[in-house]
Subunit: 158 residues, 2 copies
Amino acid sequence: MPTTKTFQAALHDWAETFMRRSMREWMRYVKTTGLSLPQFNTLMKVYYGGGCGLSEITSHLDVTAAAASQLVDGLVQRGLLERSEAEHDRRVKHITLTAKGRALVERGIEARSGWTKDLTGRLTAEQREAIAAALRQLTEAARRLEAEAPELPARANR
Amino acid sequence: MPTTKTFQAALHDWAETFMRRSMREWMRYVKTTGLSLPQFNTLMKVYYGGGCGLSEITSHLDVTAAAASQLVDGLVQRGLLERSEAEHDRRVKHITLTAKGRALVERGIEARSGWTKDLTGRLTAEQREAIAAALRQLTEAARRLEAEAPELPARANR
DNA sequence: TGATATAGTTCAACCGGCTTAACTAATCAA
DNA sequence: TTGATTAGTTAAGCCGGTTGAACTATATCA
């Protein structure tokens, strides 16, 4: 396969350029919210998880249950998360975003890749069309990949 | 322009899928190194800056000079960074990566987007070729963009 | 030369995340 | 029912990043 090498190189270059910029924008945004990175990551997990139990946050952040509990606690106090009992098992607390929390996360996602808007003007219509098609294929492949790898290895919980 | 809308949508979707996965891989990697996020970000800044003064780290991380100094100090003690006087201005300390530090950063970059290697097998040769071409154009555009926007706004330094 | 500005360091204090350990409450299994 | 397991909380303490303030040393400007 002659194309795999150049393909991976192109993907790698783009990933590096893209990540570097996006991560910085993201961290700057998080700082403006007054939240810590762990706190914001907690919100992100809940956002993508569509609400989840505490244990999922624990394994996602790779911290102890105590740490996750305290993190959530702070976010509840700020009015960004809500805790409620799950009906199927009253031990688990179902954690969901408030409207305020959701807005915060969505602005974060926006801030993270907002700079890519500036790319649009630098490309011709033909380029945009071809690139959009390429990205859709990549995104689809990545999502399939993610759907397969079911879940992260849980922490040893020493 | 009918394509700009769909282009930005495609870019946005990709960015979200990609960032979510990459950031998690990256944070997991950083954790394995035993370094904190601020410490690792310091290394990254020096890596991409090709060696730089402390003040650049200060503005990049958006912290006070005291914080940056201490961060660098810890990394020097771990043998990841080196400090030396700049010859053109003996006030500034030129900060560079040691071989060990460089290796650590490069493994981090690898860990961040290493999962994308799994995408290769899910695409046909034609797709790979088209996508590679598209990504190269994107990367080039992004780099040009970056080259223009010269530097970040410095912190108010209250 | 002297005054001011800039680059960086050190120190004390603070804050917040993280951990361990002990605990409550609910569920499951024998 | 009893015992063990699981989900989550609380409290004490540690560690490390961050800050403001005081300081040194070099550079710049008049």
